[in-house]
Symmetry: C2
Subunit: 206 residues, 2 copies
DNA sequence: TGTTATGGCTAATGACTGTTAGCCGAGGAG
DNA sequence: CTCCTCGGCTAACAGTCATTAGCCATAACA
């Protein structure tokens, strides 16, 4: 998997704007996920896209913003997926199922983002760290309110909505740790089965 | 929370053997958990016990072994707790409940170990990393076999024992991320409730 | 009282790293 | 044909850090 180094010292001005920048973001994501943020050097990221470390600064303003983009983007994507999922169903049971499916789907399809997002919170400087944590709270609250509503409607039966929401979120996040394409389950199968498990957790007779 | 620096340059030979070493291990654990392994310096660890960075080498052979001890010790403790828990019950349902309770108890009582154990796998050099990963597999297999047995005995009802074991383990591990003493639940209450949730996940009518 | 091991300390080593400065070739614009 | 911008490059800067070397005061012990 050797990437061709730019032998021509000059760049290619008009060719594919933002292409390198995107490649850098992808490489950074992969390296942050496999080696960790602090263990990944700018030279590593550069090598992954065929340039030297310092050249990265022609496309991205620094290492820290690469991490911030990943983590903020991940949380925004999750929150958006949750909103879309809950809007597409009427009963609380279906809403929870859809929300869990979206949650699991994201963690299976964007394993690296999820992995980095969960592991590198301490590597993120302020104020971005608090921004990410706030979004995390918002996301969790969405599930908790859903469960509380299900309980008050008599559809769910749990001792603690908070415990249930944590459990459901945590088991879905775990998918990012072991899922790989071509395994026992497809993403869709996985999402459906975790939907089942979540409904069992909240004691929903479906 | 200022720690008194040793003003006397000389040591105290006979006094409390291994005390400093233990304090260093505790401090390292706390710092690894809060800042991450790579972000924690030997000077940080030293400051936490009132000495300078280099003095740590009088008690411990290096930073990497501090991490290895934490991670190997964590997995050994989990495996031992699992063995003890499953030995203390007869029915599969009870065995699973006890195993989950032990799992949750460990993650609530040893949050820092669990946190580091889950986050710093990539920071661990070989061959210790593989050692830890092997122990993790062993631990997961214990839960999976238990669930498979429950299914074959007709006590449990799951589509995939692997999915169920991952789910149950992941939701228990999540406890380490948010639990704190004096919160809504005690460790015992938490363990019991997660036992309930796990039995729901495997469809056990208890 | 003299000796020695312990466990502090400072200084130094050697390596690594994010980022900046400044150079330069190529291709597009005029 | 000339000029300018883009996007490479190398060199340099300004740290940081794990670890080693070597010094020395204390306290236990003979």
């Amino acid at each position: 998997m050797k990437v061709e180094r730019q032998h021509r010292p000059g760049g290619v001005p008009g060719a594919l704007p933002g292409d390198r920048a995107a490649a850098i973001r992808v490489a950074a994501l992969r390296l942050f996920a496999t080696q960790g943020y602090r263990a990944t050097t700018m030279a590593d990221i550069g090598a992954a896209v065929g340039i030297r470390g310092p050249s990265i600064y022609k496309h991205v303003s620094g290492k820290q913003v690469l991490l911030a983009e990943i983590m903020l983007g991940t949380m925004d994507a999750l929150i958006a997926a949750h909103a879309e999922a809950t809007a597409s169903a009427v009963s609380v049971g279906d809403q929870l199922r859809r929300a869990v499916e979206a949650h699991v789907r994201y963690h299976a399809r964007h394993q690296l983002e999820a992995f980095v997002g969960n592991r590198e919170i301490a590597s993120l400087d302020q104020p971005d760290r608090d921004r990410v944590l706030r979004r995390r709270s918002t996301y969790e609250r969405g599930f908790r309110k859903l469960i509380e509503r299900g309980v008050s409607e008599g559809a769910f039966d749990v001792r603690s909505a908070r415990l249930a929401s944590y459990s459901i979120l945590d088991m879905g996040m775990g998918v990012a740790n072991w899922f790989h394409d071509g395994g026992e389950f497809s993403v869709d199968q996985l999402a459906y089965q975790y939907g089942d498990l979540a409904l069992r957790v909240v004691g929903c007779q479906a």
